[in-house]
Symmetry: C2
Subunit: 214 residues, 2 copies
Amino acid sequence: MSTAEETAGGEAQPWGEVTPDAARRLLLAAVEAFAERGYHATTTRDIAGRAGMSPAALYIHYKTKEELLHRISRIGHEKALEVLRTASRAGGSPTERLAGAVSSFVRWHAGGRTTARVVQYELDSLGPEARAEIRELRRQVDAEVRGIIEEGARSGEFDVVDVHGTTLAVLSLCIDVARWFKVDGPRTPEEVGALYAELVLRMVGVTDPGAARE
Amino acid sequence: MSTAEETAGGEAQPWGEVTPDAARRLLLAAVEAFAERGYHATTTRDIAGRAGMSPAALYIHYKTKEELLHRISRIGHEKALEVLRTASRAGGSPTERLAGAVSSFVRWHAGGRTTARVVQYELDSLGPEARAEIRELRRQVDAEVRGIIEEGARSGEFDVVDVHGTTLAVLSLCIDVARWFKVDGPRTPEEVGALYAELVLRMVGVTDPGAARE
C-alpha cells in the first residue's frame, strides 16, 4: 500500500498535473495515510509529517482535511472517466469497445488500487456539496459503460436482459479489483484485464468474441 | 448504515449465537462504529458508549479492540461459508447450485452490508494470527465456489477458460454488493441475487439456464 508498491504495479499515478510540487506531495501523503488508517483516524498533522512538511505548510495548500479528500476523489474520478472515455471513443464495434473499456478500467484499478480504495470507501466521509459533485462524475462513468452496452444491444451484437443492471455489475466487477489485487499475486493487471474483458463479453451475450471482432 | 437500516434490509444478523446479551450488544456497537468511522478512529470507549455500557463492562467480554474485530470477522466469514455450503450442497445440477450459491451470497451481502464492509475492508487491521485464521476461512469460501465451477466444467455443462480466475470474479462480484447496495435503491436483494445468478451463469458459458435446469 506504499507509493513504491504502486509504482511496482506499473501504473502512472494521476497526480502529475497537481502543482506546485508541495501540493502534489501532500496529496500523495494523504492517500497513503487514508488508505492505511482511514480518513477519520488521520490528522492533517499526520499528513504533513508524511510529506516531510509542517502543519503550517500544509494549510498554505489545503484548508481542511476534507479538502484533501475531495481533491483526491475528484482527480480519481476524473481520471477513471478519462480512462473509460478513451476506450469507449476508440472506434470499433461495441464488442471491441466494451472489451477495451473493461480491460483498461481493470488495469487502472489494479495499478492505482491504493487511490481507488480511498476514493471508493471514503465517499461517505465527504460533505454534502463535495459528495454531490462526485456523484455527478459517477453518473458520467456509469453512462460511458451503459452507452456501449445500449449500442451493442440495439445493433443485436449483444443479448442483454437488463441494461442498467448489467452496467452496474460490469462497473462493480472492475472496481472491486482495487480491493483484492496484490502486486505479488499470481496475475498481472494486464492478465486480469484480459480475463475480465472476456467474462464481461459473456455477460452481454457475446459467446465468440473472436468472431465478433472479425 | 444503522442497525435499523440493516433490519429494513430484511436480513437476519449473524450475531444470534453470541451470548450473553451484553457481549452481543457490544459486537453490534463495534460493527456500527467501525463502519461509520473506521477501525483506527474507533476507541473501546466509543463502542461501550454506543452499547450503553461502561468501558469496564466492555473489558469483561473483550480484552482489546482487535479482539472485537477478530470476533466480527470470524463470525462474518463463518456465516458466509455456511451460506455458500448450504447452497452448494443443496443438490441439483452445477447450474442450479451455482445459481443458488450466487443468489444467496448476494442476498447475504446486501442484507448484511454494514458487517460485510467491516469484514472486507478492515482485514489489514487484524494482527498476523487473526489474519491467518481468517485467510483459512477465505480459502474455504473460495473452494466452495470453485468446486461447483470445476464440477460443471468437468461434466461439460459449463464452458470455462480459467477456473481460478472465474471463481475470483464470481466472488468479487458478490462481495462488492456490500459496497454499492442501498436499501432505498431501485432493486431488492432478491432482484440483485436473481440478476447476478444469471450473469454468472453466462460467465461460465451457460447461455440458456432454463434448458440446463430441465
